[in-house]
């Protein structure tokens, strides 16, 4: 019974999120300039966005009538470790921010150290050695071998220090 109530509660939340996404895309679709034809560039985005809102209403009605089915293993967020989820997402955000400020090499270093810490690694020497290996390997693979654009950091340009790895 408790499980069922929990699932109903989650399903209300899911319906709200789907409705929000649908409404968001309806507003986005309204920004598309329409042509004189009945069917233009706005038709399909608008139809899909409205369908999303209708889907959300269906989900809401299902939850309201309590017909959400049995709770299956892995459903919901009861077992979720919010701290760990936030840490992993934080590592990603740190990677993007460092990439923008200091370039690719530094982003791998900071992102990998943060990810190791998030996964519970606490051994200093292991963190240092594995991070150096990882950063050099990815710099060599992506910027050296694959010849991707290695943009300079907005704050500090670290590329003169890593060019020997990339082979530039």
């Amino acid at each position: 019974m408790q499980d069922h109530k929990y699932k109903v509660k989650i399903e209300y939340g899911v319906a709200a999120i789907v409705a929000f996404i649908g409404i968001f895309f309806i507003f986005q679709a309204l920004t598309i300039k329409i042509s004189n034809e009945a069917v233009g560039p706005r038709t399909m985005p608008m139809a899909l966005a409205i369908s999303l809102v209708l889907g959300a209403i269906w989900l809401w009605l299902r939850a309201y009538r309590g017909k959400v089915g049995a709770v299956q293993s892995g459903y919901g967020f009861i077992d979720s470790d919010t701290k760990r989820i936030t840490l992993v997402i934080g590592c990603g955000v740190l990677f993007v921010t460092t990439f923008w400020l200091f370039g690719f090499f530094m982003s791998v270093i900071t992102g990998y150290v943060a990810a190791l810490l998030s996964f519970g690694v606490r051994s200093g020497p292991k963190i240092i050695i594995s991070t150096i290996v990882m950063a050099v390997m990815l710099q060599w693979l992506f910027m050296g071998i694959m010849r991707l654009n290695d943009p300079k950091g907005e704050l500090i340009d670290m590329r003169p220090l890593t060019d020997f790895i990339s082979g530039n």
Partner: protein
């Protein structure tokens, strides 16, 4: 004609200096990723796709496509290693294998379980590949005549069918499809050239890229789940238990003969399920397991470690692989996530997937050689046939070693490593930092979808299909004299139209699915 094409495919394949190496590499890589619990062939492909695209001109299109194709096959097989040795399905496709595979390992017969899984997988995969080759060519000859109205209704039918069958809940499957479709429409309009729903972000003017989306929903969401779990894999005891049976580590000839009819039937189930867009290996393995258990004389022994309980689901889940390409190659509809990703790789090589891929003209320039699309696709089939043998050989002799190696891998280093590779791979698709941000965003969305029973596969398939669907819809409107009625008429531009038939099929499938869901729900309540 087809036999000559197959022989020609092998000749083209062996003429490529890289192809054979890439196929063996794919057999190994797919097997390892499949055996890693949580990671799937789709995750492996998502991470490797940008690298293959960058190197496409160097290695040639054939090697890259054959690599991705074989990773999909060996990834399905690799899942059985984890199911048998760790009691955790490496992929959803091997969940049924666990029921007899793990008890057999616990009783000291892990070798027999692994070899049974290998032989059954190879059998099923070869069966499916033959169905693909003969089926696709025949169906493509018919579907080649389709125009925009038929194409639109096929896409619409695929959306509805995939959405309704891919998830436990019809509405959630359909919403996953709608979400993928609306995200796909961000960017430049294919007909007028104006920018749509870009939210003022310049990077979105060229649309959302496939690679960050794939990486987000399949890899980053899995990294988040693994961070939550932080559990170590526990390998079954492979050595210490001594038993008298000299055949404990072999799949004997007698057992093979006993399982042959069962593997044949299971391969048929798998092939039929594989042809239907959206239904994948995870459905096939349970259907085959359930059906063969029902037919078995020793059904009481099933679940305690019988070879039949491994052979049936493994034949079925691998038999899905080939036929799941039939909708892609004959209608342009990817039947699975892996097929959806292959569309991108075909486009990189200048090939539009669909029935025209079996055309003998015009010749295309791939990997430094001129060849017809038909020669190219048969070379990929040849790569698939060789790839099945490759993962069969590697798996037969080295599956226990792969399992032991995975068991000692420190997950606290492995998943951060995968996380960094996936972020870098997101960047590499368009050299855009924004794409890394999108990958993280879709990682969070993918995590939420998995926790609330939405379908990531339906989302990705819809994302890949929608642009073509919109184009077909608007082209139909241009050629139509009666507006939307063109989809309901059996004739347009003085030729017969199959469009209403596809709409009827879509409605029937959804109706049947809704009926079975309601019946099941009533039975549960009773």
């Amino acid at each position: 004609m087809i036999f000559a094409d197959i022989i020609g495919g092998f000749q083209t394949f062996f003429a490529d200096p890289f192809a054979i190496y890439f196929v063996f590499l794919a057999a190994f890589v797919g097997m390892v990723f499949g055996a890693l619990p949580g990671l799937t062939a789709a995750a492996a492909i998502a991470m490797m796709l940008p690298i293959l695209i960058v190197y496409n001109d160097v290695i040639g299109g054939l090697s890259g496509l054959a690599f991705l194709y074989v990773v999909g096959k060996s990834g399905r097989y690799g899942g059985s290693i984890a199911a048998i040795l760790f009691n955790t399905p490496g992929t959803a496709a091997s969940a049924a294998t666990m029921q007899d595979g793990y008890p057999m390992s616990q009783s000291g017969r892990a070798g027999k379980a692994l070899k049974t899984a290998t032989i059954a997988s190879v059998f099923g995969d070869y069966f499916g590949e033959i169905v693909l080759i003969f089926g696709a060519v025949s169906i493509a000859a018919f579907t080649r005549q389709f125009g925009p109205p038929e194409n639109f209704t096929i896409y619409l039918m695929a959306f509805v069918v995939i959405g309704s069958v891919v998830s436990d809940s019809i509405i959630k499957g359909v919403i996953s499809t709608l979400f993928g479709a609306v995200v796909a429409l961000i960017g430049e309009d294919t007909i007028t050239g104006q920018f749509k729903m870009t939210m003022g972000i310049d990077e979105l003017e060229s649309g959302m890229a496939l690679v960050p989306l794939l990486i987000g929903v399949f890899v980053i969401s899995e990294v988040i789940i693994q961070a939550e779990k932080a559990v170590k894999l526990k390998l079954v005891d492979l050595g210490s238990k001594k038993i008298d049976d000299p055949t404990a580590h072999y799949f004997t000839w007698v057992e093979f003969k006993r399982c042959l009819p069962l593997m044949f039937r299971s391969s048929i189930y798998g092939s039929l399920i594989g042809m239907m867009p959206g239904l994948g290996s995870s459905v096939a393995c349970f259907v085959a397991y359930g059906e063969e258990k029902r037919r078995a004389k020793n059904k009481d022994e099933w679940g305690t470690g019988v070879v039949e309980g491994i052979a049936a689901p493994e034949s079925a889940n691998n038999a899905v692989s080939g036929p799941s390409m039939i909708p892609l190659l004959t209608l342009g509809i990817p039947g699975s996530t892996i097929a959806a990703v292959l569309i991108g790789m075909f486009l990189v090589n200048g090939l539009q997937v669909g029935p025209q891929i079996f055309a003998t003209e015009p010749p295309i320039f791939i990997g430094g050689n001129m060849m017809s699309p038909r020669e190219f696709i048969f070379a990929i089939f040849a790569g698939g046939l060789i790839g099945i043998g490759a993962y069969g050989l590697i798996g037969y002799f080295f599956a226990p070693l792969v399992g032991k190696t995975i068991a000692v891998l420190p997950t606290e280093y492995l998943y951060p490593f995968i996380f960094m590779i996936s972020l870098a791979a997101s960047y590499s698709s368009r050299s855009s930092i924004s794409d890394v941000g999108f990958a993280i965003l879709f990682g969070v969305i993918g995590y939420g979808m998995r926790r609330t029973n939405f379908s990531a596969a339906a989302f990705i398939i819809a994302f890949v299909l929608t642009t073509s669907m919109e184009t077909a819809f608007r082209q139909s409107m241009i050629i139509s004299d009666n507006g939307l009625l063109v989809f309901l008429q059996f004739e347009y531009m003085n030729k017969f139209s199959y469009a209403p038939i596809f709409l009827i099929i879509g409605v029937l499938v959804v109706g049947f699915r809704a009926y079975s869901t309601i019946s099941k729900s009533k039975r549960t309540q009773a």
